[in-house]
């Protein structure tokens, strides 16, 4: 099991470590500064942190000693917009989508056969790639210049964003993205060409003729089972969907209990039928159902779901779990999640029971086992 836990929060990076049979808070870095994204790179042990200074923008830092010391590396930067390139107009706001970084919303390692390759998804919708462990970044222009980007729009944020990046462990050139709001995108040639894929997801909040359009879907988070990469899960704005054919087709899971609304999802590393979610009431009521926080688990591929409540507050709770704030360790039994109201819980029995690490954290953006 993992023995290190990293929390990216509204006010810094906070670390916890399992010592003498219990999890304990240890160190903090970037105190007072937002840390919206983290990547522990299992290929080489590096730890990456996106750091958002607010007034002074986003930077990327890397640690080669598990968070003890940090150095600033390059930050994904949009190239100068050529004067002869027309603006892409956001279809909802009718405003031009800016060529400036608003938020690093996803950070993933390339394949094991690609040392140093990193992918970074951003708001307002640019995908960046580094070939040198973050020393430099390039905007993936094949996607940025794709004509269909004119249909992308923001969900929750003002601008569209790439929040999920799935690199196929069988083929590093096969990469999938989930975009709010532009559905699921895929390249099979390492980013040379892209296509929007995925039939079956639907968005009840859209006009009737648009509800099943794959290109307007709002997947809140997409994950693939590492040992069965064609088995994928999406926590969508409109419910929970899963795919058994690599995201080509999606089935809606309607047996949710207590709710299909939420942001986060993780899948068991070796059992693709088992996945965990943290539900809220619905989009316009982002609190736990009946004020009672639960994690929701399926162990049969979405045919049924069970709420897991032991150790979680069952009254007067207002916790919402952001899409990157739930993680699972490689053992498939240790999970952790953090909330908007500053609590973090850990389970070492697959979610059957939970123990609160602290209730005193800032809002938690991202939780990652090291």
């Amino acid at each position: 099991m993992s023995t290190k836990l990293y929390l990216g929060t509204r006010k810094g990076l906070i670390e916890a470590e399992r010592c003498d049979g219990r999890w304990q808070l240890t160190r903090n870095s970037f105190r007072g500064v937002q840390v919206p994204m983290l990547l522990p790179d299992v290929r080489d042990g590096r730890l990456y942190a996106a750091v958002n200074h607010g007034h002074f923008g986003t930077k990327v830092h890397v640690s080669t000693d598990a968070g003890a010391t940090w150095s600033e590396v390059a930050c994904p930067t949009y190239p100068p917009k050529p004067d002869d390139v027309p603006d892409v107009i956001n279809p909802m706001s009718q405003e031009p989508t800016p060529w400036t970084l608003k938020l690093i919303w996803s950070l993933e390692a390339g394949g094991k056969d690609e040392p140093g390759v990193l992918w970074c998804g951003t708001i307002p919708g640019g995908l960046f790639k580094s070939m040198d462990s973050g020393a430099s970044w390039s905007l993936v222009t094949s996607l940025w210049n794709h004509p269909a980007r004119a249909h992308w729009f923001g969900g929750g944020a003002d601008w569209p964003g790439i929040h999920s990046i799935v690199v196929d462990p069988r083929d590093s050139r096969h990469v999938q993205l989930a975009v709010s709001c532009a559905g699921v995108w895929e390249t099979r040639d390492g980013g040379e060409t892209w296509a929007c894929i995925g039939e079956g997801m639907f968005a009840d909040f859209m006009p009737p003729d648009q509800r099943f359009n794959p290109g307007i879907q709002d997947p809140h988070r997409m994950v693939a089972c590492p040992s069965s990469p064609d088995y994928q899960w999406v926590q969508h704005h409109n419910g929970i969907f899963h795919s058994t054919d690599g995201g080509q087709h999606w089935q809606h899971c309607d047996k949710v209990n207590p709710s299909g609304f939420g942001f986060a999802v993780v899948v068991h590393p070796t059992d693709p039928q088992t996945a965990w979610f943290v539900p809220g009431v619905k989009d316009e009521m982002r609190v736990p159902v009946d004020d009672a926080l639960c994690v929701m688990r399926t162990r049969d591929g979405g045919a049924s779901f069970e709420p897991l409540r032991k150790g979680l507050p069952q009254e007067h709770s207002y916790h919402l779990i952001y899409r990157h704030a739930l993680d699972i360790s490689g053992d498939g039994r240790t999970l952790a999640f953090g909330s908007t109201t500053g609590s973090v819980w850990i389970s070492e029995d697959g979610g059957d029971s939970w123990e609160r690490l602290s209730a005193e954290f800032p809002p938690v953006y991202v939780v990652r086992f090291g």
Binding site: H53, G54, H55, F56, G57, K59, E72, C75, T77, Y78, P79, P80, K81, P98, W99, T100, L101
Partner: protein, 89 residues
């Protein structure tokens, strides 16, 4: 030469030395500063080279008008101060 100074809050994050540099516009002066402290550039300017939304640059006590191209003129004895706005962030 114009003198350029940065808010201490910025100096807490990265190397942001006060210095005297050549330049007849804000763009020229800042460019000279960034030659000495390259990482500082992205803390002050956005991807397109405009002043970050929540950063303000004063020249001799007046906020600059051209936040996109930084063409505001400097006198040889101008004092440029880079600070965070009280909005946002």
């Amino acid at each position: 030469m114009p003198r350029v100074e940065f808010t201490p809050n910025l100096a807490n994050q990265t190397h942001a030395p006060a210095c005297e540099v050549a330049g007849t516009t804000v763009a020229e002066a800042l460019s000279a500063v960034f030659d000495q402290a390259p990482k500082l550039r992205s803390y002050v300017l956005d991807d397109q080279g405009a002043v970050r939304t929540h950063v303000v640059i004063f020249v001799d006590g007046t906020a600059i008008r051209d936040r996109a191209r930084l063409s505001d003129a400097l006198r040889p004895d101008s004092e440029v101060f880079v600070m965070q706005a009280l909005s946002g962030g």
